[in-house]
Symmetry: C2
Subunit: 134 residues, 2 copies
DNA sequence: TTAAGTGTATTATATCACTTAATACACTTA
DNA sequence: TAAGTGTATTAAGTGATATAATACACTTAA
């Protein structure tokens, strides 16, 4: 499927992963990047389900996970909003980043790469990407 | 489940991932690290299934993937052996490492980390791990 | 008061990936 | 010939994912 904007959030849905995980990750990303401001409203369960043409229960599952992570708060009858706590977002961002790095280093370790090799390789790849976009 | 050795390969199986993927990754790791030498025999489908107490079909699936990656070769009636091509193993190792790094950088990008932040963060984490084991 | 829009819960159904099970066949080696 | 290889087939069960159809409690604005 192609990219789609609902509110200020970009969605790119395919079949490589569970739908609820993709929704979760993409909203989470928008919050972490500040593309949705603190305290701002995100689409309602029904609206997002309608726009993405998927079942409301599937959206619900993603929204429950966001709330469990402390990234959103619900207000009955009003909707779902990004947390107002800048600290909470920043903490979550760092925790997730730490998990990503640990998993990555474990993968490289499983291939027998030394730490100096990993450091050099990452630096090289980052330089390649820097050429593309700042 | 706890660690288990079959032949020269360490297996650590749990329920967090499909069984065939875990077998695939762990044999692949042993090959990449050189813990199983080039041309060396790996356990037969039936033997490994028996030792791990899982179905032979599940082991088969992992073995077919190893062969598709060019890491192993089968000899009818004899068994399955690690490829004799050092170059093939090294190429695969680099390709997989590249995939790991690209996926990792995409994850960090989705959290809004700048490349300089990523480089610094990885270096810090590597230093922490270096303290543990060279 | 009413209607529309919120999040939430429930029950049922369908599909698919994964795994097991039981066999059978072709080949190699001792 | 017997035992050990990889391989293929058919059948069945389980769990995660997703859909469908409702219903309820709450909030807001008309």
């Amino acid at each position: 499927m192609q990219e789609q904007r609902i509110g200020s959030i970009r969605f790119q849905i395919d079949f490589s992963q569970p739908l609820y995980e993709q929704i979760l990750e993409q909203i989470r990303s928008a919050i972490a990047k500040g593309e949705i401001g603190l305290g701002q409203k995100i689409p309602s369960v029904r609206e997002l389900a309608h726009e993405l043409r998927i079942n409301p229960n599937t959206v619900m599952r993603a929204y429950q996970e966001l709330e469990r992570d402390g990234l959103t708060e619900k207000r009955r009858g009003q909707g779902t909003f990004v947390t107002s706590s800048k600290e909470r977002v920043e903490t979550f961002r760092q925790e997730l980043a730490a998990r990503y790095i640990d998993a990555f280093l474990s993968q490289m370790e499983s291939l027998g790469y030394s730490w100096s090799d990993v450091a050099a390789y990452v630096k090289k790849k980052i330089d390649e990407r820097s050429g593309e976009r700042g």
